[in-house]
């Protein structure tokens, strides 16, 4: 993993923290923090986000490395599936004689 460039003014870069609470579950976004590099980001995440026994695994990701959808294009991006009932299995009637549906 590459370490992001320190920001102006010598401020440590921001990292996003993902914590897995137990085996078999997914890592869940827990919050963010500052750290000079990935190794310290993991340690800071341990101190900030698992001090009440919350985790068995941590991921840290440079905040810069995350691409996110544009909140302003919510309509174009997320509203199109509305009303398209045929994308759900419940839209269809069961054919006769089909078992285990």
């Amino acid at each position: 993993m590459t370490t992001p460039e320190p920001h102006a003014g010598n401020v440590w870069p921001i990292w996003e923290v993902f914590v897995r609470s137990s085996r078999g579950l997914s890592h869940v976004h827990a919050g963010s923090l500052h750290a000079p590099d990935a190794a310290m980001a993991l340690r800071n995440a341990r101190d900030l986000y698992t001090r009440r026994n919350e985790g068995v695994s941590i991921w840290v990701v440079p905040a810069d490395a995350i691409a996110s959808s544009d909140p302003d294009s919510k309509g174009a991006f997320f509203e199109s599936p509305q009303g398209k009932d045929y994308r759900h299995a419940t839209y269809y009637t069961k054919s006769e004689g089909v078992k285990h549906l």
Partner: protein, 312 residues
Amino acid sequence: MSTSPETTATPAPAEETGGHGDLNVGVKAAGGSGEATASATRITPGNALRPEDIALAVSSGSAKPTEDVAEIALRLGDDALILAQRLGHWISRAPELEEDIALGNIALDQLGHARSFLSYAGGLDGRSEDDLAYFRREHEFRSASIFEQPNGDFAVTIARQFVVSYYQFELYSQLTQSTDATLAGIAAKAVKEVDYHRDHSAQWVLRLAGGTDESREKMIHGFKVIWPYVDELFRDDELTARLSASGAAVEPSSLRAEFDRLTGEVFAEAELEVPKVQPAPGGGRRGLHSEHLGYILAEMQVLAREYPGASW
């Protein structure tokens, strides 16, 4: 000590019930409704030997230290207590918020060890951890000199923490084999936490030594200031000889080789030299302290002495 406030970075501090059950904080909503206030992560107290368990074992009579074991527990408890008080001073003053919490966490770990050791030590004559922490005078404290050394700048604090963590790790690793079951139990819990303290301070030694010219100079200065107090940690005396013979503890001198080897590895990687300094005379184990301890105790004890029995 049981009322020490904790610094917290996570949402809504859990109501500490003292039980071992699932605290269920922030989990309720996570079950299905997906409220915005739900914590993304699940909080549990976990299972571990707590100071309260030791106090209970002592008061019920199921654990009672011998005079020698009580004295070594007092030494180790005082070491951890004074260091916790020193580290606590960093809260709100560290270079970054994240480091503030890291040092606060280490301070709280040390305070936990202190509470366990002092609860056990008090079992000899019925004194509580608070009696021992708040109502003893300076010459009755048995902590070694390194623990009361001033925080200095961040590099001095890291140098002190580095030495202490590597020493405590070796000591607690050995104490897990103690013939005294309570000492072994406290050490088994503490050694895992101290292992992390080693890692934290070693990471910072490497970064400060390998950072800028200024950070390297400060790290070198930090070790020069702290190193005179290393020798005292590894000095044997009559108490440790008796405890070593009975299998309850080890001679401190037997820990030195491994301490030198492991700290030497970090020094080599950081391209630092072990400081060549004259060892300080020490005397903390006999109650002889520097001018620093009195100020630490004054701040730590004032509230308990002004308002005996106060709670908040």
